[in-house]
């Protein structure tokens, strides 16, 4: 897409976004950011306007845009603090998996409600004994004819109590090497034997963890997402999709933090000037590396930057809010919005692959060091 076309597209998005937001949205952002009603409405409208997955076809909630054009839209949305999707796992993780691996029947039944937000999704990945070591999961699914009987325990399952469905990863072959015995099933959260218990979060949050207990839950074989024992590939593909977006959110957060540093500080901040300069470098490097990764991927070149973005972006985010806190002095701990940002920043080096796992990936895949 040429530059003028891109500008026109961004303007179109801008006008649309403005028409979606209440007049006092920016004045009362700290209230509106928690307004699930507004966010639900925004998601539905995004789907209808084709902004939710802009690279997909019109009937799948997109506009068949190039990845570069879609990135511009995503950046613009983030820069303008567009309402956050109320259930990120749905459109950004479950939907790509359904679209890539689903049967025509699954796509027909599940994709639209997932994208427009009328049905929420949870990701049934982590277990008490399988966190970073996702492939070590123990939830068992035994197949009898066309039915899987599932027993197990999932945890840290975000928004499971509000979800209609879950992308559930289960062990279907106990004999195979651990990566090769996992299958992905679409779990109906209303099915008998599914019990969901929310976990109280340390911080204010609308992305509440849950425990999900599975007792003799029967799931039809038609609910397999991808091939039987092919769940590892489904998970990697779905998470890869998410990983490409995380840096955009991280970058916008660093920009918001820098803006807050300039406008909200209390008293002299001379001692923080070097830290602020380093943050400006972090923020620009994150954006430039994000673009380089996209450019390399679309030119078919290897994109080592892509593996760096998650680790670097999440650390930059933490540095940003800690510097903002320093600039506020004691007022920092009397500010519930900042308290939320700091908690949220600490989560960023955990979700989507911990920093330790990311360092292993960089060490092993990019530098060629052996596994430990």
């Amino acid at each position: 897409m040429s530059q003028p076309d891109l500008t026109e597209l961004r303007d179109e998005f801008d006008r649309w976004l403005t028409s979606m937001l209440p007049a006092d949205y920016y004045d009362n952002y700290s209230v509106y950011r928690w307004d699930t009603g507004l966010r639900r409405e925004y998601q539905r409208a995004s789907f209808e306007a084709g902004w939710i997955q802009p690279t997909w076809s019109r009937e799948q909630g997109g506009r068949s845009l190039t990845p570069a054009a879609a990135l511009e839209i995503r950046l613009q949305a983030a820069l303008r603090s567009a309402p956050k999707l109320p259930n990120i796992a749905g459109p950004n993780v479950a939907a790509p998996a359904i679209r890539s691996f689903g049967t025509p029947e699954q796509v027909a039944r599940l994709l639209t409600p997932c994208l427009d937000g009328s049905e929420w999704w949870a990701l049934g990945m982590s277990e008490p004994e399988a966190g970073s070591d996702f492939a070590g999961l123990r939830t068992r699914a035994v197949r009898t004819g066309d039915v899987f009987t599932v027993n197990g325990h999932k945890i840290w399952t975000t928004q499971a109590h509000e979800s209609r469905w879950a992308v559930l990863y289960v062990r279907t072959d106990a004999e195979a090497p651990k990566h090769k015995g996992i299958s992905c099933l679409v779990l109906d959260m209303h099915a008998p034997g599914v019990t969901t218990e929310p976990v109280r979060m340390a911080s204010v949050s609308d992305e509440t963890f849950c425990e999900v207990f599975l007792d003799d839950v029967e799931i039809p074989a038609s609910a397999l997402l991808g091939p039987e024992n092919g769940g590892w590939q489904v998970a990697m593909s779905a998470l890869g999709h998410e990983r490409q977006m995380i840096w955009v959110m991280n970058w916008v957060e660093t920009q918001r933090g820098l803006e807050a540093l300039r406008s909200n500080r209390k008293g002299a901040c001379d001692d923080l000037h070097s830290a602020v300069g380093a943050l400006l470098a972090d923020s620009e490097a994150l954006r430039a590396n994000g673009y380089r990764a996209l450019h390399n991927e679309s030119s078919g070149r290897p994109s080592p930057e892509g593996d760096v973005l998650k680790l670097f972006g999440s650390l930059a985010l933490q540095r940003t809010w800690e510097t903002v806190a320093a600039a506020l002095g004691p007022a920092a701990v009397a500010d519930p919005d900042l308290e939320f940002e700091r908690h949220d920043g600490l989560a960023a080096t955990i979700y989507g692959g911990t920093s330790e796992i990311q360092r292993n990936i960089i060490g092993e895949r990019l530098l060629g060091l052996p596994k430990g």
Binding site: A68, D270, H273, V276, A281, Y291, H295, L311, N360, G368
Partner: protein, 361 residues
Amino acid sequence: MHTGPNADQLELQAAAREVLRKSCPSTLVRQAYSDPRAWQDLWKTAVQMGWTQLALRGIGPDDLGLTTLDLVLTLEACGGALAPIPLISSIGVAAGAVRTLGPGALDLLTDLADGSVATLAAQPTGQRLPGVPLTLDDAGRVHGSALCVPDAVHADLLVALCSSADRTALAIVPIGDGVLIEPADSADPSRPLAVVTVDARAVESAIVDLEQAIAPGLLALAAELVGTAHGALDMAVEHAKTRRQFDRVIGSYQGVKHALADNYVAVERARALVYGAAALLDEAPAGPRLWDACALAKAAANDAALACTRTAVQVLGALGQTWEHDIHLYLRRAWVSAALFGDSSSLYHAVGRRYMSGGAA
């Protein structure tokens, strides 16, 4: 939106690396520590390869469509090989300042493109950041001293930042009568430093914007440091893949692996800023944003080169303490190039202060 080098540019960089692999082994770097003529053959190669023509990128009658990104990629390759030639000082730093003079500088830049060597006097006494060390009087004479002038001992021309009434002038002084070059100790003797004392007539001078004149130099040093950082990282990784302790190669231990992964992130952080600033330099007019972008690139490259060399010395254990192992050559280059034209803290501080007071960045 700028997104870094294209396939052709990456190919040219690979070609430069290949030339350096053959003509710039570490034995040449070591030779340059004691032999003041050791750089000359490699310099001829650099001129033949057309690297010095990068002084004329985007201008001149024979413009080959070269950009600052091409220069940056070449300097990165030189940094990786620790090339003991004045390409950074002459084509990156000095020519970068001269280019701000506009079309009048074409003859001078053509001389540099043909292999004459220039260096920029930009370090005043008692200051951490580069600035204006010399003065230009009404009669067109340059006076004063500049510290830590890189490659002055190899140079034919001095490019001097001078105060001229209450403005900044860039003056060109041929090295000869009235220009005293006193070699100073350098932690990296293959990047020689000197105190330059001048009392001589400028053959040319013009008023310049100080930040615009210095920014290309910050970028050139940053590009070199990215190459040096990556070279040191490669050396550490190689060792971590082969050295065994407790029956395992040490690179399988997370204590080593994670330190090297963090180094990799530091290199990519710096590289992104260097490529971005290179694109900005070719956009006119860039204003204070340009200095900020080049300063942040230099600060990030300092960080990367110092972290990568420090980790490499650690990973190499006792070997890293020896004269025989090449890692100290990288360490020395990183120390010197990171110290020239501003340490990270002073650069971050300058950009951060301007941002907090509502300025560029």
